[in-house]
Amino acid sequence: MSAIIDVRHVNKAFGGLKVINDCSLQVAEGSITGLIGPNGAGKTTLFNIIAGALPLDSGRVFLDGEDITNHPADELFHKGLLRTFQIAHEFSNMTALENLMMVPPRQAGEHLFATWFKPTLVRVEEAEVRRRALEVIDFVGLHHVRNELAGNLSGGQKKLLELGRTMMTDARVVLLDEIAAGVNRTLLGDLIGNIERLNRELGYTFLVIEHDMDMVARLCDPVIVMAQGSVMVEGTIEEIRNNPAVIEAYFGSTPA
């Protein structure tokens, strides 16, 4: 399998603090790759760099062989690279349903003139997007709050809305940043099933930052461990669990 995301020797510092230190990693196409590591390892910063939300200091990032270093997030979105945020983002002044309806690109309504002169076309497409948004909102279990302002949703519901957002368009790679944090156990099962289905049926590749080891074990293969801004080790969850270096990175010292 070829690498759909290829990060090569990336460096990033905030002032004097070196957050990403010569980091290189590959995500195989069609995989659900886990990205774990202690707090401050640079996982989210790396996400921001891949997704174009943060400029890097040096190094390169490739999406399916194409150099996307420092490309803006909206351009990457149209290339099929989507991300969710660790702290859930939402359009707080729009309803949950409207939040999802913001996503699909290239509608007729995007053109100024169509709004005024082709109202029928706009309405038909709008109805189509709405239908899809309703499907997605049912899927992530937010049907009962679809008409609530997104700003009023709970933290867990906002996380589900984030996942829903990635399902509104045909993505190739989805970066999930702690999607399970704050989501209750029953929903978590649905969520995992959901991610697996998107992966299997639609061929989405996932790169997942997660602290919940059970979820990582169920979902991710391979797993990449980051520490101090670079990749420490990569392997199956079993290999990771039995790696003394990983245990040391997490707990500070090898248990006696």
Binding site: D74, M94, G109, H111
Partner: protein, 334 residues
């Protein structure tokens, strides 16, 4: 009844005129704030620039309107809107975009816009001169006196031609803006970006496009406001600059970042101004005889003199900031 017609002329019509101009100006200010998060002080001079373009084009082609039976300045307005929109985008590219790229604090933008204000005003003064000039170069300003068909009413309702155009254009601009913001995807994208710029970008919204569109709309509206103002009175290089305070007051009254609020705020401030300078003794005069003897009606009974009109928006601003800092409609205050 004569007194009532006087009230209509001096408050209802005058207030609507001022209110419309403030409203259109305030919408531009509020849109720029909601997308770029800074107070754009050069807005007044963008308005002046729009009016100046109309003056320039009208002077160049004074006969253009006669063929269509419309005053020439009005024919030139769409062109002036395009030119002002281009100026707005150009100003952004030259002065604000580099600042954005460096991620500076909002106050730096505000100071930069002050610099742009001085520069624009100087340039317009350089080319237009400092005196007042009528935008009606070759046409005559039509004044309509509508007699009120009631017995004993001698005072007519007076409306000038530019005022009628002003009402029509304001309605068209407001309806057009509403349709754009609520229906078009680009308008929704603007709302999305003002709500959460990071998420907007992660949802595939090109923020550079949105910024440019915002400048185009703000520039076009500024040209309308400046031209309508200059049509109503005369064109002066510093005319719109003195409107900055009431326009910002209108934007804040309505809730910063809230376009419909800005329209409401514009009319609130406009009417407050005209009501404050209105001579109320005119309305009380018919009841002069029934007043007690110790109370004599003064000749002028206005809240503030016309020359102190500018304190009214100040006063409203203070009241709003103390008691309802988010504005009438809840805007985004940061």
């Amino acid at each position: 009844m004569n007194e009532f017609v006087f009230f209509i002329n001096n408050v209802v019509i005058a207030g609507s005129v001022t209110g419309s101009i403030y409203a259109i100006g305030a919408v531009g200010v509020t849109l720029i704030f909601s997308i770029m998060r800074f107070a754009h002080f050069a807005h007044g001079d963008m308005m002046t620039f729009g009016a100046f373009m109309v003056l320039l084009l009208t002077t160049l082609f004074p006969q253009a309107g006669a063929a269509l039976g419309v005053p020439t300045p009005l024919i030139m307005l769409p062109l002036a809107m395009v030119l002002t929109a281009a100026l707005a985008v150009g100003l952004d590219r030259a002065f604000y975009k580099p600042l954005r790229a460096h991620g500076v604090k909002p106050i730096v933008f505000v100071i930069a816009s002050l610099g742009v204000t001085l520069m624009l005003q100087g340039l317009i003064r350089l080319f237009a001169g400092t005196g007042g000039q009528s935008l009606y170069v070759d046409d005559r300003k039509e004044i309509f006196r509508l007699a009120v068909p009631l017995e004993g009413v001698r005072v007519p309702v007076v409306v000038t031609e530019p005022q009628l155009y002003l009402f029509v254009l304001t309605i068209v601009a407001v309806v057009g803006l509403h349709l754009f913001l609520s229906r078009s995807r680009l308008g929704k994208a603007m709302r999305a970006m003002s709500d959460n710029p990071d998420l907007a970008q992660a949802s595939g919204i090109n923020t550079n496009t949105i910024v440019a569109v915002t400048w185009v709309i703000a520039g076009g509206l500024a040209a309308i406001a400046g031209t309508l103002l200059s049509l109503d009175v005369t064109f002066k290089p510093d005319l719109s600059f003195f409107l900055l305070l009431p326009i910002f007051a209108a934007a804040i009254v309505g809730g910063v970042g809230h376009p419909y609020g800005a329209i409401a705020g514009g009319f609130v401030v406009g009417f407050a101004e005209t009501l404050a300078v209105f001579n109320w003794s005119v309305l009380l005069r018919p009841f002069r005889d029934s007043l007690p003897e110790w109370l004599s009606l003064p000749g002028n009974l206005a809240f503030v003199g016309t020359e102190y009109k500018i304190v009214v928006p100040f006063f409203i601003l203070v009241v709003i900031l103390v008691w309802r800092p988010t504005g009438i409609f809840k805007g985004k205050v940061i």
